[in-house]
Amino acid sequence: MRGVSVRVVPRLFRPVARAMPWWTFLAAAGLGLAIVTVPAATAVTLTGEDLVGLLRVAAVCGALGVGFLLDDPAARSIATVPTPRPVRYAARAGVILPAAAVWWALVLAVTVAGAEDGIGATLPLGGVTVEAAALGGVALAVAAVRLRGRPDSGGLLAFPVLLGLVMAARLLPDRMALFVPPDDTEWARTHERWAVLLVVAVAVSTWASQEPARRWTAVARRRRSLVGHRRS
């Protein structure tokens, strides 16, 4: 991205934030927040494991909503502007991440506040946050792949794929499990897997945000190197 004007980026945040389709995210995030509000709003007593379960459901809700935030009805109109797609995606990520972080902080705060005395302090909030980040990352990665080369709805693919992955994760054998109870001895190792998933999701998102012309450049380079090989 040599030569790209970096002064564009800060000026993009406001219009990009306005252009993003927030309603789906707000609905999903609102649902997630409502779910963790249940213990506080009712007299039901929940264990730490139950609360982690609620946090996981809230995280899935948020991730499902995040998947729609890359959708851009004006994608065709801006396909050939000098500001390349990775920069445009970075601007979107710069809007999505703080919004998602604020929402998740609210979800955690409500959950801890609604927990019985002593339970809130024992909740493994860091580990569940890694799970939530990975789920959001996967949703964004699937959406970015869907939007690569065609203006479409990334969320429409991210939604079923994420739900399918969550269902499939429930069926994994114990040694590969992703959703384990907080007192499980495998908790730390499981969260290493979540962290790897997050890194993979970020890598896929980065790859998918590249301009399609990279393929052409890569093909041209490969052909040149092949020609070079044959000549040498």
Binding site: M1, R2, G3, P15, P73, R76, I78, A79, T80
Partner: protein, 292 residues
């Protein structure tokens, strides 16, 4: 990187692209110079694919392409092209909650116009150029189809591009809007290159200095509209009844039939139009392939 006054603005050769098993473009070669060039062809001919490749939105499987003196295969070349390019896609999208001014202003930021005052002046200039100065504050969702198309054209005009690519810009417009649009494009064609994809042969006759006919992914013709019309010279005739042997035959407003094809001996020949030439070219190709 700059293009000389006489050099081609676009030079393409062997451009080939497949969508899965479908061959969208096959060894397409053409050159584009200053003025308005029309890209004619039936549905599915590959017009949009070709325009998207020239506009750097799509990557061909193989072939050579130079746009405005730069090679879009390289990152720096693509950036150089995009800084001097205006592209109006076939089905432009908008953020409906934005006003016309806000949307064009957003595109202007993406086109690296970072100085707020300069950018706003430029946005006002292009909105005025497309006749939307009075509608600048109106939400896009409240604009008619023709006005939205003009918003997209205004966005394409930002930065006074050297090459303007318009993909079927008059589809869905009523006759008055079409004429208005034609006026704007004709004015834009003075002093820059415009590549205009269209189904309408009358648009080619009215606007274009040159025309390229694309059919089934290959270039069938490249020349002036007069040359295209001349392809049907001696093969357009009129009579009082339908001619089943003609490629096309229809009753004109005069009440007499107009035929395109091989005329019978002694037929009353007519001066061909661009449409006649196009029909001969595309139908003849279809016939050749049908008999092959």
């Amino acid at each position: 990187m700059t293009v000389t006054a006489t050099g081609p603005v676009v030079r393409a050769s062997d451009l080939t692209l497949r969508y899965g098993r479908t061959l969208a473009l096959a060894d397409v070669a053409f050159t584009l110079r200053d003025g308005v060039t029309g890209l004619l062809g039936p549905n599915g001919a590959g017009k949009t694919t070709l325009l998207r490749i020239v506009a750097t939105a799509l990557v061909p499987d193989r072939g050579q392409l130079t746009v405005l003196g730069a090679d879009p295969r390289t990152e720096s070349g693509r950036l150089a092209v995009r800084r001097r390019l205006g592209y109006l896609p076939q089905d432009p999208g908008f953020h409906p909650g934005f006003s016309a001014f806000e949307f064009v202003d957003y595109v202007a930021i993406l086109k690296e116009l970072t100085n707020r005052r300069v950018r706003h002046e430029e946005v006002s200039r292009v909105l005025t150029a497309v006749g939307l100065a009075d509608q600048r504050g109106k939400k896009i969702r409240a604009l008619s189809g023709g006005m939205r198309q003009r918003v997209a054209l205004a966005a394409a005009l930002l930065g006074d591009p050297d090459l303007l690519i318009l993909d079927e810009p008059t589809v869905g417009l009523d006759p008055e809007q079409r004429l208005r649009f034609r006026e704007v494009v004709a004015e834009l064609g003075e002093g820059r290159s415009v590549l205009l994809s269209t189904h309408q042969t009358e648009e080619v006759m009215a606007l274009c200095q040159r025309v390229i006919v694309l059919d089934r992914g290959t270039v069938r013709f490249e020349g002036t509209p007069v040359d295209l019309a001349a392809l049907a010279r001696g093969r357009v005739w009129t009579s009082g009844s339908r001619a089943p042997e003609a490629l096309a035959s229809w009753r004109a407003g005069t009440g007499r039939y107009r035929h395109v094809g091989d005329p019978p001996t002694g037929a009353e020949l007519l001066e061909p139009t661009v449409e006649d030439g196009y029909l001969m070219l595309v139908d003849a190709t279809a016939d050749q392939e049908a008999y092959a």
